[in-house]
């Protein structure tokens, strides 16, 4: 019992990262009809927004501190972040400590701008081209973005710790009445899962309950009619591309404490996210979320010791296996709409 709960919990945090990326991919596909292979790169850019933000916060000047001496007895030179001067030392420390959640505020505008520029500058010209061309040009873009990040940040993983308040683990077993110490779960992963759910919820709420969202949904269902009604649907779709980029970016920002980012993290996630989108059904937003969580949990179940002993190697391939089975038995994916991507 405790094993099962533990695996479900383990699957949820990875699954929610899959779900967030897949949600953005589906959003782009559903609105603009573009297969975006650069979406993993957007996830990666988000993670590096967090890194950049924490570096900006800790920009410092060197101050000679008379109270501290080094081993020769000279006054010690210490780095004092500029932020201490502006907000006072204690507030500055808090800000630096909380850099990951605060990076969200920084990442949202940056990612929306990146998304809009990408759509207007590149993707726009590919609406009328075949899907293969779209895949290829975004694949090229992903390589370029990766290499730029690699040039500026190097090829190594860059650690970016979570706020101190969330370091450590939560004894989930004790909380639900099982034996203490059986289900231990890091706090930050709980935060990540809650954050992902909140983000997914707000995207759905935005689409469901605002006029803007209503128009976008109408455009996804029947673009021509919406245009005939005199609505500039292109502009709204561009904004949705920005939103999708921001969702991927935020997923990346919050993922940095779980796994230190490096330049190719996006590609690693992208392959699986595509599988997730296809399993969920091209163009279905709930499908993408459900499939993301489902495959995340499936993956963590497959990495249980007993399962690996019974079926060696299953943890490596279970996602792809599931994708193959689902695609062959349910051609449209779990919740795919009729008529989407059916040549």
């Amino acid at each position: 019992m405790d094993q099962i709960i533990l695996q479900i919990l383990n699957g949820l945090d990875k699954g929610s990262a899959y779900a967030l990326i897949a949600l953005g991919l589906t959003l782009i596909f559903g609105t603009l009809g573009v297969v975006n292979f650069a979406h993993g790169a957007l996830f990666m850019l988000g993670a590096f927004c967090a890194i950049t933000f924490s570096r900006i916060l800790s920009l410092s000047k060197v101050v000679v501190d008379e109270t501290q001496k080094d081993f020769l007895g000279n006054p010690l030179k210490v780095d004092v972040p500029y932020i201490y001067d502006w907000f006072g030392e204690s507030a500055g420390q808090v800000l630096i400590n909380w850099s990951v959640p605060l990076a969200i505020l920084f990442a949202i505008p940056v990612m929306i701008i990146i998304g809009v520029v990408m759509e207007r500058g590149l993707i726009k010209h590919f609406y009328k081209r075949p899907h293969a061309d779209q895949i290829l040009v975004t694949f090229g873009l992903a390589i370029v973005l990766q290499e730029i990040i690699k040039y500026y940040f190097g090829a190594n993983q860059i650690p970016n710790p979570a706020p101190e308040a969330f370091i450590g683990s939560f004894d989930f077993g004790a909380a639900i009445g099982l034996k203490a110490g059986t289900i231990i779960y890091p706090y930050w992963r709980i935060v990540y899962f809650c954050f992902a759910m909140l983000l997914i919820g707000s995207v759905f709420a935005f689409l469901q309950f605002t006029t803007f969202g209503m128009v976008v949904r109408a455009g996804m269902a029947d673009r021509e009619t919406v245009e005939l009604l005199g609505i500039n649907i292109d502009k709204r779709f561009t904004i949705m591309f920005g939103v999708a980029a921001a969702v991927a970016g935020l997923a990346g920002v919050m993922y940095t404490p779980i796994n230190p980012p490096n330049y190719h993290m996006g590609m690693d996630f992208l392959v699986i996210s595509f599988v997730v989108v296809v399993v969920g059904g091209m163009g279905s937003l709930p499908g993408a979320v459900a499939a993301g969580l489902l495959l995340g949990i499936l993956e963590s179940f497959a990495s249980m010791r007993q399962v690996i002993e019974a079926l060696p190697g299953i943890n490596q391939v279970v996602i792809y296996l599931a994708a193959i089975v689902i695609l062959l038995t349910r051609p449209r994916g779990l919740m795919g709409r009729k008529g989407v991507m059916e040549e």
């Binding site: 895949i135 730029i148 490596q316 193959i324």
Partner: protein, 399 residues
Amino acid sequence: MMLGLNRKDASLLLIVAILVALAPIFLNPFPEQSGLAQFNAGYPDLMQRFVIFGIFAIGFNILFGLTGYLSFGHAAFLGAGSYAGVWMLKLLTINVIPAIIISTAVAGIFALIIGFISLRRSGIYFSILTLAFAQMSFALAASVLTPITGGETGLQTALDDPRILDGTNTTGNIPAPSIFGLQMGDSFQISVGGWLWTFNVGYYLSAIVMLSAFYLAIRIFRSPFGIMLRAIKSNQQRLNYTGLNTKPYMLACFVISGMYAGLAGGLMVSMDPLAGAERMQWTASGEVVLMTILGGVGTLIGPVLGAGLIKYFENIFSKINDNLLHKWFAFMPDGVEDFIVSIIYPFVGKGWHLTLGLIFMAVIIFLPGGLVELGQKVASIFKKKGSTPSNNPNTEPAE
């Protein structure tokens, strides 16, 4: 006319054959001692890679160029072929011919299985299915199948391999792959003036195989089978409506394409008997896509050009470092020199992928026909101003 080819195809084949035969000479345009010698590509290792990846790309182009089905898992066949090849070298004989044949056959069987399942879907679903199969093969090869594949370290020949036909020897060096006594690494060097030309056994074996593969590809492109595949690309539904089952054609095409990849894998291990799991990773599949697109999808010669260009970049361009750049621009005033070097530096050396990505994007955006289209455009400018590019059947994209 010649070998069942029309005049244009025959002359294309002849030109390619001459270029391939003389490659050791014209790929070394700079004298050995000159500063530009590092741009020489005429050394055996790199030339072997040119033709082997050329075969891989020709095979990929038969699938993607003719039918428009974008496979993102072609590296799996290359990997399967490589493993089969190494096993032949280990178990049967160090002669490379059985290894190459078995590699091709194993990749063909592998492609038959994967193709049978993947081809039930088309479009992006097909791409994802092939990607999923390739990633599965990669993950399994790197972990569970270690007894067969050597896992992370890779599979290689050893001194105490059985080698049934050769007889085991347990003394001396590990035997190198050879063909009837000629080792793949054997070379014959000519020095003329400052130039040094290396004629390598492995290269010429690969080149002969590549030319036969190229010839076969021309025949496939011109055959009724090839026309059927183009018809599938332009309108599969309509073919189905005429009561024609396209499945067997697609599957045959997929298997042929997979066998080309296996052949390339077999040659690769014949040159260097080491097969690793990373050869199957999806980035390797992405590379062959890049090669084909860069050269020109659906054209005969395009994939070979693309393969050559990318391998040249990978091996030569990536060696330019900042010291060298400073040396080249040393004639400029210091400030200007530093400025220019700092601009160029991100694009060369370790950053060559960036240049590759940018070129690739530019090709997709402006030149969907790849280098071949560029060549046609340039040629048409020179031929006659204002005239439309000639519809040369050799190089027309299969659109």
